[in-house]
């Protein structure tokens, strides 16, 4: 069924036209880089290029032992009040999201690229610095997965695609803080707390149905000097400009994480249904060699499982933020929209949908917070993340769909953001990697 199409003369002509048209796509998808590195060949969604030119990461300090953030102390009481720092960070990020992300969202969605100045502001806000220990020039004193969730939620209330673009570097810096050895931290982390935070991305997802992050097709083979990576990673945020990746690949049949500089990787634009502002791409690893020191977390299975979980948790927090945006948007709409002589919100069929959005959203938020608070306290959190992911994927999508439905035909057109949130929320059930709390 898949190969029923046989290309005839017309088809060939159309294909050529498509290539020419595709050349414009390169600009649209933001694949141009400060240093032009040449285009390989056309792909279905654009062109394959070389990865961004990497700054030379050199060990700035050799601290020997890695710096880790200690777990937060176990809390005595059930409490839903953010502490003062969290309140302040959340308010700041929420303001940034409302004033900068939301207004830029539609254009970034079309352009498949986040505005550079906006990403600069996000870096200035210290989104990566917060998770890095003070010893390494960061601002963190203990693990704060909850703060990470609050930040992701607040950003996604502005726009999920831009939120992913803003958070992509912190996925890599958080991974280095959590699992990097002294040399890895000393080599890479200083850049993340400096003025010019590199674009970076956590690449786990692979392009195939029923993808399971614990059954990877990307493989790492041992060489005398280190490892040789082969495989394809999918929906990697800011792929074309990223200077550094953490890549999931199977080593001796077991999934592991590798630090990969962008020099030898190839990138294909991979625009998707949503999250387009995150400028996602495929990462093609065609026998990319990395040094022995590239293996993160010693190849431990537990480290990898935690990485998958903390990434999923990030997606849950993003879903909560976007779902809240839906609720906040539909309430004034259904109150103002008049049909049959009164606001449509006076009808139970409309009002109950709004109620259900509120109920399920609050449930998503609490389940996500619980998983985050267990993670930061050093308690087991696999179950809680598994449940949060299931809930946020299912209910988040229902909320996205109802958001469009409540606006009727107006929800379907791009004058309103609900159609974008509908596209974005679909990602939550399938994304792996990209963000990490």
């Amino acid at each position: 069924m898949v190969d029923r199409h046989k290309r005839d003369a017309m088809g060939i002509a159309l294909a050529v036209l498509n290539r020419i048209a595709g050349a414009r796509l390169v600009r649209r998808f933001g694949l141009e880089k400060p240093i032009e590195r040449g285009i390989f060949h056309a792909t279905r969604t654009g062109f394959r290029t070389l990865g961004a030119a990497t700054r030379s990461f050199k060990a700035v300090s050799t601290i020997g032992k890695p710096a880790r953030l200690p777990s937060a102390p176990e809390r005595g009481l059930f409490d839903l009040t953010p502490d003062e720092d969290q309140q302040m960070i959340r308010d700041t990020v929420a303001e940034f999201a409302a004033e900068q992300l939301r207004p830029a969202a539609a254009e970034a969605d079309t352009a498949c690229k986040a505005p550079a100045e906006l990403l600069g502001t996000a870096a200035e806000l210290g989104l990566t610095v917060l998770g890095v220990p003070e010893d390494l020039g960061g601002a963190g004193s203990e693990r704060s997965t909850v703060s990470g969730a609050l930040i992701a939620e607040a950003l996604a209330h502005g726009d999920m695609g831009l939120a992913v673009a803003c958070l992509a570097p912190s996925a890599v810096s958080n991974a280095l803080v959590l699992w990097g050895d002294g040399d890895q931290q000393g080599t890479y982390l200083p850049a993340f707390v400096g003025e010019n935070v590199p674009a970076a991305a956590l690449a786990i997802l692979e392009p195939r149905p029923l993808f399971d992050p614990f059954e990877l097709k990307t493989v790492a083979r041992r060489t005398p000097e280190g490892y040789r990576l082969e495989g394809v990673k999918s929906l990697v945020p800011r792929a074309a400009e990223a200077e550094l990746f953490v890549v999931a690949a199977a080593l001796d049949g077991s999934p592991a994480l590798f630090i990969v500089e962008s020099t030898d990787v190839q990138i294909e634009a991979e625009p998707a249904m949503g999250l387009r502002a995150a400028a996602m791409g495929r990462l093609v690893l065609d026998n990319v060699t990395v040094a022995r020191t590239a293996l993160l977390g010693g190849g431990s299975k537990d480290v990898y499982a935690d990485c998958v979980r903390l990434s999923r948790l990030g997606w849950c927090a993003l879903a909560v933020g976007t779902a809240q945006a839906v609720l906040d948007y539909v309430i004034p709409y259904v109150n103002e929209r008049v049909a049959f002589g009164e606001p449509v919100s006076h009808r139970q069929s409309v009002a109950f949908k709004v109620a259900d959005i509120g109920i399920e959203l609050d449930g998503m938020r609490l389940v996500t917070y619980r998983a985050a608070s267990r993670a930061e306290q050093g308690l087991p959190f696999a179950r809680e993340v598994g449940l949060a992911r299931k809930l946020c994927a299912d209910k988040g999508m229902v909320i996205g769909s109802d958001g469009v439905q409540l606006l009727g035909g107006h929800g379907f057109v791009k004058e309103h953001p609900v159609e974008r949130w509908y596209r974005d929320l679909r990602a939550v059930g399938l994304m792996e990697g990209a963000v990490l709390l």
């Binding site: 409490d79 009040t81 029923l210 139970q348 009002a351 109920i359 449930g363 608070s373």
Partner: protein, 398 residues
């Protein structure tokens, strides 16, 4: 500090309630499901124990513990949290039994919520049931027809109440009646009527789909004379409906807690049976890569987790003197629909083992339905949540 774990200080209470649920409730569960209307005498021993638990230290496990605490700057996990935790454990054992627990009726929650100190002293030790619903008035409780007419130092009550949980076994009934039908909802007050008061009669017990261990009575009031001092709260009509409705902010999380306990019982039994059938649930593996039954189970447990935390949130707000009408209704709505869907799905997953009386799964699937109905149906909770979120009055959003 955001933390959603249950504090260790509740460990003893939770353990006691769980032991009772496992050793007293579960072994008798089927017996009184079959022998509807028979008094579960095994509960008397436990009720005495529970009285002891309630009078010891902070909070208690009983319905009478829902009274609001004074505002304080310190975060509190108090009586509302402990009653929710106790109810979860006991309903893991049997919901019908919890509803039949002497001195733990919903009327006790009403008394605790709105009684003055004198009334609390007088009625606090009674087992009180709650009489609101009438043959022609269900969710529209503002429309009740039962009247209370002032006569000297008494009120004379006339009317018929249905669906009174523990109406036969309780020592007293908290009955809603209107002082003046023409004044609408503001004139609705609640009265404590003790058993044996002339003019109050239990006329019938219902045969039910579930919670058959709990008696559900029809009570007739015919010129029933009650002292004016039995009117709960403020007799002033201007301080009307909000007062009696405040009970629900406290009892809805309690009913949600019942749903949480029952649903957890069904989840645990189903997980055990699925494991015996070779299906294990994996929290890391994508749901779509697992057995369909495991994927279904994950969805059920995720919904349960959300309902559980919404319930704890509503109780936490009550303990910290935060207005929680919205959250109480959210918890009740979520828990009510989750417990029904979940127990029914568990029966389906377990096949004839679930559907037959070999296990309690079929019973739990019958018991669960009431939890999406009493203390405000699913639809009423949605209405309350919708009005709050949309800023609509009951006149605008009907």
């Amino acid at each position: 500090m955001i933390n959603l774990e249950i504090p260790k200080k509740f460990g003893a209470l939770v353990n006691q309630a769980h032991q009772a649920a496992a050793e007293i409730f579960r072994p008798n569960s089927r017996k009184y499901d079959i022998a509807e209307h028979e008094y579960p005498k095994e509960l008397d021993i436990f009720a005495a124990l529970l009285d002891g638990m309630n009078s010891s230290g902070e909070g208690g496990a009983g319905a009478g513990s829902v009274r609001r605490t004074e505002k304080s700057n310190q975060v509190r996990n108090g009586a509302n949290m402990s009653i929710v935790l106790g109810a979860i454990e006991l309903c893991w054992g049997d919901v019908g039994f919890l509803l039949s627990m002497p001195r733990q009726g919903l009327g006790n929650a009403a008394i605790a919520s709105v009684a003055n100190e004198e009334q609390l002293a007088r009625f606090g030790k009674l087992w009180a049931s709650m009489a609101i619903t009438e043959p022609d008035t269900g969710s529209d409780s503002a429309n009740i027809k039962t009247t209370a007419i002032k006569d000297g130092d008494d009120y004379i009550i006339n009317g018929e109440k249905i669906f009174v949980t523990a109406g036969e076994r309780s020592d007293a009934v908290v009955v809603w009646a209107t002082l003046d039908k023409s004044l609408g909802r503001a004139a609705i007050k609640s009265f404590v009527v003790e058993k044996g008061t002339p003019g109050m009669e239990v006329v019938r017990l219902e045969n039910k789909l579930g919670i058959r261990a709990s008696d559900t009575a029809v009570i007739q009031f015919t010129d029933c004379r009650v002292p004016a001092a039995n009117l709960l709260g403020d007799p002033d009509i201007s301080q009307g409906f909000a007062g009696v409705m405040q009970t629900f902010d406290n009892t809805r999380p309690l009913v949600a807690a019942m749903a949480i306990g029952l649903a957890r019982a069904a989840l645990e039994e189903t997980a055990k049976l699925l494991a015996e059938a070779g299906v294990e649930v994996d929290y890391d593996k994508p749901a779509n890569q697992q057995h369909a039954a495991a994927a279904t189970y994950l969805g059920l447990e995720a919904d349960w987790e959300a309902a559980n935390l919404l319930t704890l949130k509503a109780a936490w707000m009550a303990d910290n003197s935060k207005p929680n009408s919205l959250e109480a209704s959210e918890a009740k709505a979520k828990a009510g629909r989750v417990v029904t869907e979940l127990t029914l799905k568990c029966v389906e997953l377990c096949g004839s083992i679930g559907y037959s009386e070999h296990t309690l799964l079929e019973k739990w699937a019958r018991d669960s339905k009431i939890l999406d109905i009493f203390e405000g149906t699913q639809q009423i909770q949605q209405l309350i949540v919708a009005r709050r979120l949309l800023g609509k009055s009951s006149g605008e959003l009907k």
